[in-house]
Subunit: 337 residues, 2 copies
């Protein structure tokens, strides 16, 4: 069966292509008689508009791209879902692109050697630095997510990581903890994310008059639960003493929880724990996890607002927006009082 084109419908209905197009688009100034006549032809022929023709003609794709390292990480999977919902509300489809945290692939994302794939791009870099992003900057509207510094030319949305880390640490201190370890310290040169979280952690400790002990920074080479679990096991084996663990994310917290369980250390009795991201998993572990919860709904709204402005032609300097977070308290580090 040959594809039915707009022109076929026009011929069949004995009208012009313009009229058919008007009907397809629910253009209001079409007489009812005309409308039903055309609609009948559409139904009879089983016409469905070809998106590629439309896109070529309009220059718009109606698609946005969301790029980050890996959908199978719970935070990103849940973030993707939030963006899907928000994009749909705005009549955009969403294309997901994964970089696996590889520099090459991140470069490919921002350099976009092919034009017209999507109308705009939301990108959370893992590897690419601000300067390189600025260089590659091409003609597709771009909004950055995450803690890495953004070039001044590019819009950027993030939560205040220093404040959030401070909040989590203060909470642990308020629970009477003094030997608070940090799980997921990076072994190589610190990323902005790490620097910010460490900074908040130190702020809170210093403010409470607690000396910062470098031994309490438990390193991991990868961001997963296994690494975190083994970091905690090593710390215990080495006789490190701690009464709280502030974890770089929920995955690390889950690993830490597991390591403590294995050794019969009670949470939060002996050791309190905080996670980060407030993924679904945080609410179903035993004990459930207190976690920093970025306001991802707001994140998506702010990011897509800015992106749509760019798509609409805004050419001004990059905007830098901070969205809210909360500390969701659960069993692993319960609310006070």
């Amino acid at each position: 069966m040959p594809r039915v084109r707009l022109e076929d419908v026009a011929k069949h209905a004995g009208v012009s292509m313009k009229t058919v197009s008007n009907v397809v688009h629910d253009y209001e100034h079409v007489s009812d008689r005309m409308r039903t006549r055309v609609q009948t032809a559409i139904d009879e022929l089983g016409y469905r508009p070809n998106l590629m023709g439309r896109r070529l003609a309009t220059g718009r794709t109606g698609m946005l791209s969301l790029a980050f390292s890996n959908v199978s990480l719970p935070y990103f999977a849940e973030l993707a879902r939030v963006f899907y919902a928000e994009a749909e509300r705005r009549d955009y489809r969403l294309l997901l692109q994964q970089t696996d945290a590889k520099v090459q692939r991140e470069r490919a994302i921002v350099s976009a050697d092919e034009a017209g794939l999507v109308d705009g791009l939301v990108f959370q870099p893992s590897e690419l630095g601000s300067t390189e992003i600025a260089q590659h900057q091409r003609d597709v509207p771009l909004v950055l997510l995450g803690e890495e510094a953004a070039p001044i030319s590019v819009d950027h949305v993030m939560i205040d990581n220093v404040a959030a880390a401070t909040r989590a640490t203060e909470h642990l201190i308020a629970l009477g903890r003094r030997k608070i370890a940090f799980v997921g310290h990076e072994t190589g040169p610190l990323t902005k994310t790490s620097l910010q979280r460490m900074s908040g952690y130190q702020n809170a400790l210093e403010h409470a008059g607690i000396p910062v002990d470098m031994n309490l920074l438990l390193p991991t080479t990868q961001y997963d639960s296994f690494e975190a679990a083994s970091a905690v096991r090593h710390a215990l084996d080495a006789g490190l003493e701690f009464d709280a663990l502030m974890c770089r994310d929920d995955l690390a917290a889950i690993g830490a929880l597991r390591a403590l369980h294995e050794r019969g250390i009670s949470v939060p009795g002996d050791v309190a724990i905080t996670g980060w991201d407030n993924t679904h998993a945080a609410s179903v572990t035993y004990p459930s996890l207190t976690s920093i919860a970025p306001d991802t709904a707001q994140l998506a709204v702010v990011a897509l607002d800015m992106l749509e402005e760019r798509i609409g032609g805004y050419l001004g300097v990059g905007r830098h927006r901070i969205v809210d977070f909360t500390l969701v308290t659960r069993e692993s580090a319960p609310a006070i009082g």
Copy 2:
């Protein structure tokens, strides 16, 4: 800055569009001199091919769509990742579509009122039945995933749910368990998935001479950990006795684990547990979860093989493929011996 078109490059280099196109596509019969001349023009002008023009001309989009209910469910997030990898290997981009398990949205997926969005579609229905899928006129190549029956006209890939449920149940029986409850029994009319898993469960019990006790089917209204946890709590409150829980999926198993932890019931000492899907989470809970592991890599290969055949013009009857699964044994129901 106005967009640079193929024609602009051709003019700039003093050659024809065809020649530029040849260079862009690395066509081999191009003299080196010509190639460098054109490439220079491309670089000077900063030309990047417009995908929409190309797509309209070729009739191909180079995109496939993967549709299921919800990316934030770990199984689907991990499945998406596997499909992304396999699609990329075949030079396809992947578009994710979510239905939220809503009939309307599933209909929209299979009816595809717009043509040319993607070259093919892989779809795991949650609500739509076989007959309705068959009815919807479809000009986009389709492969179905999951346990629902597929129309004979449509390709379909799944694992053998009956066999997998049998395997899991047999494993629990081999561990000496006799009062094996099923967590996540559907309250309404049973879906194919449920029917198959129940059937495997019953097979194994009957084969071992264990009577099937309807009280051991713990119902949940939603597929999440909370529901599963509360189902298990209710069962315990009602005085139900069981020494094993076969859970409909890992999420349910995680909820069950939590409920048992709360009551101080040891796993696997008092109660053994099996999950389903073998999501990452299964390996980091405490205790870690024995789980049915569908071979998702094979699933993606088989599905995309069939899809590419359809895209290539194959019009034959629907193929029905079964892919492998394994039972991954972990602490919650350890391997024997």
